[in-house]
């Protein structure tokens, strides 16, 4: 007697805790083995790109925060860099360093969310509490600087909104001093844990060839052994002033991606410490009055300043006609902005190059031929933010 073999199609998501947002996967199974996987996205599509075409360059800063909401500082940096490139404006050194400090702290916070949620997916639920305890410290630092824990709106075109407050440096240093011990603790808990290793090792393997073909970036690409990091390849915002390593994996499995991210947190700490040590003095926003608001005190003395203030507030910036692409290394990979300007005060087109979008596209290649339970690990290991995928 022969049994008929047929595949079973199941639906995972969009409401499923391990999809990290609203992601739907249509999985075709043969027993427990995945035959095909088809991600269905768009549940969080908010039309931000369309919205941005109808707002001034400055107003858009508030919108970009909401795209990759776990790393808003990177989002703002990429957007501001693109507009600055369009304008051809220089950012003062101090502002560049402040941006680096906040971005790297933000990277640690974002990776901590990844670690905690991966823990939940693999039933290590206490890990989330530990990670959120540390992340809370970073959110407090963010609040100190910008008044906001998330969605800071702190970077400005040409610099940052205000200088660092006095209490920031000691608080940041104290956190950074305690942080490696915490990381050691987590690694002691996970790296040599048999369950953790079995769930990660050899799971969701992404080959170098596939990674390149799908345009995968960030820790997911570096886990596959390609040392591409925008901070090193195309240094921006003074990243070439700092010493740091770009960790890479070898096998391209979930465990390599885990190790890459853990090491990245240590490297980010290294960068922040160097930036704090060498933080130059000077202005935190460009002196170009066509780009940045004049200081408050000038308004009472100078008619020019009043005119500039009025023009910037009522109309905004008028960049020259042209198109630019600027990219930063966000915690998920290359976050790029492609902006087309027609010379008016609103962009004609703002395209957000979303790292999670490309990384998610490689998911079917990672899970094909694997077990159903490993899909959860695969999703966690590419660290997607659905706001970034759908925009």
């Amino acid at each position: 007697m022969t049994l008929a073999r047929e595949t079973l199609t199941i639906n995972m998501g969009p409401q499923h805790p391990s999809t990290h947002g609203v992601l739907r996967l249509v999985l075709e199974l043969e027993g427990e083995v995945i035959v095909s996987c088809q991600p269905v996205i768009g549940y969080l599509h908010t039309g931000i790109e369309k919205e941005m075409e109808n707002r001034t360059y400055h107003q858009n800063i508030a919108l970009v925060d909401r795209i990759e909401y776990l790393s808003s500082y990177h989002e703002e940096l990429a957007y501001c860099m693109a507009v600055e490139k369009l304008l051809g404006v220089e950012v003062p050194k101090r502002a560049q360093y402040i941006r680096v400090i906040l971005c790297e702290l933000n990277r640690i916070a974002s990776h901590l969310v990844w670690l905690g949620t991966t823990g939940i997916d693999l039933n290590v639920s206490s890990l989330l509490m530990y990670c959120f305890r540390d992340r809370e410290r970073i959110l407090e630092l963010s609040e100190m600087v910008s008044g906001q824990r998330m969605m800071p709106g702190y970077f400005r075109i040409g610099g940052v909104a205000a200088d660092l407050p006095e209490e920031f440096e000691p608080a940041a240093r104290q956190f950074l001093e305690e942080f490696p011990r915490r990381l050691d603790e987590y690694e002691a808990m996970l790296t040599d844990n048999l369950i953790w290793r079995r769930r990660h090792e050899g799971v969701a393997v992404l080959s170098r060839e596939d990674a390149l073909a799908y345009g995968v970036t960030g820790p997911t690409l570096r886990g596959s052994g390609i040392a591409y990091d925008v901070r090193k390849a195309f240094p921006y915002s003074s990243y070439d002033d700092f010493e740091f390593d770009v960790p890479t994996g070898e096998r391209g499995d979930a465990f390599d991606r885990y190790r890459v991210r853990m090491e990245e947190m240590r490297q980010s700490r290294r960068i922040v410490l160097q930036a704090l040590d060498r933080l130059p003095l000077g202005p935190v926003i460009t002196g170009d009055r066509k780009v940045a608001l004049p200081p408050r005190a000038e308004l009472v003395r100078s008619m020019e300043a009043v005119i500039h203030q009025f023009k910037l507030v009522s109309e905004g910036i008028h960049p020259p006609k042209g198109e630019v692409y600027a990219a930063v290394e966000s915690p998920r990979g290359e976050k790029g902005y492609y902006i087309v300007s027609d010379g008016s005060n609103r962009p004609v087109r703002v395209r957000v190059r979303a790292p999670s979008f490309s990384n998610l596209q490689a998911l079917p290649a990672m899970v094909r031929g694997g077990m159903l339970a490993d899909v959860v690990v695969a999703i966690a290991s590419i660290d997607i933010v659905l706001g970034d995928v759908d925009r």
Binding site: L212, G322, R349, S358
Partner: protein
Amino acid sequence: MSTALTPVQEFLAERLGPDALEAHAFRGDVTVVVDRERLPEALRWLRDEPWWFEVLTDLTAWDRYPAEPRFEVVYHLLSLRRRERLRIKTRVPGHDPVVPSAVPVFAGANWFEREVWDLFGIRFTGHPNLVRILMPDDWEGHPLRRDYPLTEEPVEFRGHVPKVPSQIVPRVPPPGEDP
């Protein structure tokens, strides 16, 4: 705008002849505009030796409405070995928005092209599965076109009258058009 061409721009200009429509650099971003018929072969040359633009970082489009040719499809390429970026563009008329697909050259172009179809209504011939990706399957229209209005959705509660697009954001006429 600089007048000196980079090596890759010279290569494309030479290989494509008059089909390389334009080559320029703005703020250090190197751009070549290619005729859409020659696009797949140009991308294939660039992907392989000696240029190694192996990564398609981004593929998108923008609407130049009401100018013609109406759309520009934009490809951002990245060469890891040469640490270089390159932007390839192609122009598409509004009455016939069709471009040959880049999926045979870059597997990652699949979703990008679906997104461009979804939001701009540009078709890619040879694409394996050209269906909407971000908008619902039964959506009408292509939202990122410039003539697609930005509207408010009607809401459930009473007492709220949805605004018409011009009340939300006044339309800015493109340069050259009378307001």
